[in-house]
């Protein structure tokens, strides 16, 4: 599955707006993840996950920054996320099901903040893009 030219254009153009709220979007995405899917908290026993926690904010920023890296190298996502791919495969070993959950929560956050931009076509492009990102991150799992 690879992104069409149109899909890439949609992602890149929306990222311009999204990146202006990158940190809060990251935090909100994680809040949604931990509330809707409490089992995901099992990967963060070492974190303070309360709303407003500095760790939550820092980690949210990290996650969105990585998505941003993928957007900036949208023609070579595997290359851009190679190190993260190894990290997830050998160190973090987050079960693959969780990438769908995080992706969903990111899309919910973006839809809530940019309703006019989040058309059906944009929704499809983002869902596909996050699917590609997730595939890259789980590529080396076995």
């Amino acid at each position: 599955m690879s992104l069409t030219k149109t899909e890439r254009a949609i992602i890149v153009s929306m990222w311009g707006k999204i990146s202006t709220q990158a940190d809060t979007i990251g935090t909100e995405t994680l809040e949604r993840l931990f509330l809707s899917y409490p089992q995901t908290k099992t990967y963060f026993p070492h974190f303070d996950l309360h709303a407003g926690s500095a760790q939550l904010r820092a980690h949210g920023s990290k996650v969105v920054a990585a998505v941003g890296d993928a957007v900036k190298s949208i023609d070579n996502i595997a290359g851009a996320l190679a190190k993260l791919s190894e990290l997830h495969a050998y160190i973090l070993r987050v079960d693959p099901v969780n990438f769908k959950l995080l992706s969903h929560c990111l899309l919910v956050t973006v839809a809530a903040r940019f309703p006019a931009d989040f058309t059906a076509e944009a929704h499809a492009a983002w869902d596909k893009f996050m699917s590609v990102v997730s595939s890259v991150l789980t590529e080396k799992y076995r």
Partner: protein
Amino acid sequence: MTFLTPEENGHVTSLWGKVDVEKVGGEALGRLLVVYPWTQRFFESFGDLSSPSAIMGNPKVKAHGKKVLSAFSEGLHHLDNLKGTFAQLSELHCDKLHVDPQNFTLLGNVLVIVLAEHFGNAFSPPVQAAFQKVVTGVANALAHKYH
């Protein structure tokens, strides 16, 4: 054990009261067909599904979306007996419509995204969490009679 906490119940009831079931139903079903094109396999008689705008504007999609969401809406009045409420629809989806239950999960998540789009900040993380429970419950209830 009740399905939703009183707080979650409050979130669901208060938000759902503001939902235009016809509009949101059409949009959710339309987006399902756009975002997950393989789901179009169930709607070959619906006419023009050739592009996102064709799908979103298709009157049969809108009408069917309204039907689906009205049934879902009915379920919200019976959250403590979803399996009973959706028993017949479950049999229908298995025996006559031959719909893979995975599609119920896909549609549920698309509905959550449409609600986020419509309600913005009001669709806060706790409100989303309550709705995720609801859509999962409905999806499970619809799959319950499969054999």
